[in-house]
């Protein structure tokens, strides 16, 4: 019985740690889908792009992956701003975001993925850093640093984002753009500019989430697909655009997945997030901390 209790606590702890990492992946979608109503299906592909950026800098110059991802933030920010500009001119302005906008992002997903395949091939890549090998042992609980470090940095990142959203002028404008664009215009703020900034920030988080991903597991261009359902499930469960909700939902899904793969076998774990998604949509569409 003692053995299975250890197993249980270990599963829960690793679930929470993985959940912290999921939260970093989902925070970008919470911004774009939750707040701006832009269904950015391609977000996981940008995360993979972040992974490969971290891989290149780590492989060529020995830079730390997380440090790289922070250096790469402006590049991803610019990429996001550019994509939003295209999206706005081609779809939002014409009122076609529902069908063609979705197809646009789906196309972007494939373009990013296949470009990476053509450039890097389909081999799994990984990075090297001092915290990737060792594991902390606290009592009977194992804490692998390769998951704990991303989890901690992820929580810091989300706290910073939340602070930005709640305290700064830009952040408040972003929250406002979700509620009433007209009112924002009356305050002499250009809602398009605010949305561009918000979307650019959401893509910038993909840089950091990508670094986490390649620290946690080896990456090849199409692994992002495994995360699409999970990320959106977290976003919906967390209440669409609420960052604290996203963290709670991510950890919840992380724990349940971890328990499922410990007690039923890892092949069942992918179904967990879908179960949560359907349950949320059917029972409480507003999510845990819905706005």
């Amino acid at each position: 019985m003692i053995f299975s209790f250890d197993l249980l606590t270990n599963a829960i702890v690793s679930g929470i740690l993985i959940g912290g990492f999921y939260a970093a992946m989902a925070s970008g979608v919470s911004l774009s889908f939750g707040i701006l109503d832009i269904v950015n299906i391609a977000h996981p592909a940008f995360i993979i792009l972040g992974s490969y950026a971290a891989y290149m800098m780590n492989h060529d110059f020995g830079l730390d992956p997380i440090l790289t991802s922070i250096i790469m933030l402006p590049a991803f920010y610019a990429l996001g701003a550019g994509i939003y500009q295209i999206y706005y001119v081609a779809f939002e302005k014409r009122g076609q975001e529902s069908l063609r906008g979705l197809a646009f992002f789906f196309g972007l997903l494939f373009i990013t993925e296949v470009t990476l395949v053509l450039y890097f091939g389909v081999d799994y890549r990984d990075v090297e850093a001092s915290y990737i090998g060792p594991t902390l042992h606290l009592a009977n609980i194992d804490i692998p640093l390769r998951i704990a470090v991303p989890c901690l940095v992820s929580l810091l990142l989300i706290a910073a984002l939340q602070l930005l959203l709640v305290r700064s002028f830009i952040g408040r404008a972003i929250m406002a753009v979700a509620q009433d664009q007209l009112a924002l215009r009356l305050m002499a703020v250009n809602p398009i500019r605010i949305k561009r900034i918000a979307f650019a920030i959401s893509i910038a988080t993909a840089s950091i989430a990508g670094a986490f991903l390649i620290i946690i597991q080896p990456v090849e261009p199409s692994v992002g697909r495994d995360y699409i359902g999970r990320i959106f499930a977290i976003c919906v469960l967390g209440g669409m655009g609420s960052l604290p909700g996203t963290v709670i939902a991510a950890m919840l899904i992380g724990v349940v997945e971890s328990l499922t793969s410990t007690f039923y076998g890892p092949s069942w774990a992918p179904a967990v997030s879908f179960g949560f998604l359907l349950l949320t949509l059917a029972v409480r569409p507003a999510g845990l901390l819905g706005r």
Binding site: G107, F110, Q181, P191, F232, L278, L281
Partner: protein, 348 residues
Amino acid sequence: MRTLPFLVISLVVAGLVFAGALAVGNDYIFFAGYVVLQYVVLSTAWNILGGYCGYVNFGTGAFFALGAYSTVAIYNLIGKNELSHVIPIPVLMLVGGIVSGIVGFGMGYLTLRLRGAFFSIATLALAVVLETLIVNWDYVGGSRGAYILRPENAPLIGSYVRYLFLTMLLLAVGSLVIARLIERSRLGYGMATIRDDELAAEASGVPTLRVKLIATTISGALMGMAGAPFPYYIGYLQPDSTFALDYAINAIAMPLIGGTSTWIGPLIGAILLDSLQQLITVTISSAVNLLIVGCLLVAFVILAPNGIVGLFQKYFQHKDDDFVGRRPASLDEPPAVAPSGSAPESPA
């Protein structure tokens, strides 16, 4: 044109296609043609929900795979009696269609009362969960995959691949007739109103949920029917590749490139795009093939939102550039009030 003459004409065209393929005298044309026809069915099916109703389904691969795995299940069920060679493909199509149709209905029922984007995301996740189920279901091969022995010959026609080609050809004709029938019926007009403005449709008395559920069911069923003969075509079915998103991108790209508002758009898109893909797969590589599909999709949705059909209409009828089947949006200014989502919320 009424439906009956249309049916006769398409059957004649189908007959000519089959005769032409026979005249080439090489079985490769049937192998390649089968895939093109399969995509005609898939993109037509996608377009019934996506093009007519405006709801994006990312789960084409899942519905397709459901059809394929229904066939594997039936094959395993009666394969032991050495009867497997005589199950007619149309029966398998029917079973696959029923299974996928039920799943499509269930998906729609759970998610379509909410905003449209939720449906799209749920279909994405559906592929993952169905794949998980299949991987864990040993009876249909699990993660190892399933082998299906393709009979050498079919009665009357000769080689089995010709038989597969013929059944898929008839299914393609059937799905085009269904799509055209829907387009010109009350149901189709109901779907068009949902696409244009769901709130207004609801207010004018269109039973939106019912219309959407009919659309998801028909669309899902046709995708399942397209998948049912697939195990016989491919010989070895593996969950990873059967549930792949590649089907979804093709099924979305083809109608959008051809034009989503009429039955002929997906047909044109599927024939053009898949012929191109067959060519690229043979001459360059299958990875480049997906890159080109992605680029074409993005280019078309940005530059020619009404697809090839729209380009033709503009060229020949000088249609107004802004007419895209939606509310005209002012081009100088951003919309004053943001559309609250991809589709207005309907009362749950």
